[in-house]
Point group: C2
Chain length 169, copies 2
């Protein structure tokens, strides 16, 4: 496998010298939910790295053949065994330093029959006053929760787009 600019392109790609196949690498989508139950939101305590032991919204890589909405519901079931009804797209974050785009959907938690999936050690509902702000796993989780509690006061939930920019060290 060589790393060079293919003919007609302007970026270096991984090219197989044996068969000529160009193995493009592009940003991945992470899709997830903000599960809401009355006044409370559902968070998962991470069983795995990175950010093991910190609290997150259920989310993971979108898979081939599914919509971002389907992926968000699937990840919510995998991480929290929680059944949700997706209400609408809510936040999108560009994370160019790791070539990811996050998408969170507002979702109604349909029942209280949730429990930790394989990637979680705990799953709980939190009122706004009890959110573990100092123990959230990722900036995208904090930003999504902050948007939500602010928007909830007004009753309107427009889509928010943000960039999470880290300088290269």
């Amino acid at each position: 496998m060589a790393h060079r600019v293919p003919t007609g392109d302007n970026r270096e790609r991984f090219v197989c010298d044996a068969c000529g196949t160009i193995h493009y690498q592009n940003p991945k989508i992470v899709t997830g939910c903000l599960p809401i139950y009355g006044e409370q939101v559902l968070l998962c305590k991470r069983a795995i790295q990175p950010r093991q032991g910190l609290w997150t919204l259920p989310a993971g890589f979108l898979e081939n053949g599914e919509t971002s909405t389907q992926g968000a519901a699937r990840e919510t079931f995998e991480e929290a065994c929680a059944n949700v009804s997706i209400e609408g797209l809510y936040t999108i974050f560009n994370l160019p330093h790791i070539s990811q785009v996050y998408m969170f959907f507002r979702a109604s938690l349909l029942d209280l029959d949730f429990r930790p999936g394989f990637e979680s050690t705990d799953v709980r509902l939190f009122h706004e006053r009890d959110i573990p702000w100092q123990d959230l796993a990722f900036p995208v989780v904090r930003d999504t929760l902050e948007h939500y509690f602010r928007d909830r006061a007004s009753g309107a939930f427009p889509v928010h787009v943000g960039d999470i920019i880290y300088e290269k060290r």
Copy 2:
């Protein structure tokens, strides 16, 4: 390269039997612009397959290390040599049958110094009445234009999310 379910996973992946590397394949993001100049919108006539000769909004695959907004402006410059100022995210479409997620941004065309890039044979501004509806390249282009002309009448441009679903034949 084998195609099997890795330990701890639940989907088949391409796994290198020599080094154990798992080559994940995930949906790609296509990012682009709806360039607006007064009452007109900019469209590009495709020089390449698929849909060669049909009209499209400038868009292409998001690259590693860039934000979806940066990618939208880059593609607009590559396909139409057009300088735009991004106004905001406007439409998102899931295309699960080809594992793509499209994102279009509303953008102001900054000047009339545009011309076809390598992937276009023509670039033009269109009033609503002149849009070549029968010669648009993709459903996501038609849907984005339809949303725009409808929203323009009301003056509000919320984010629209849609699924483009094709049954497997």
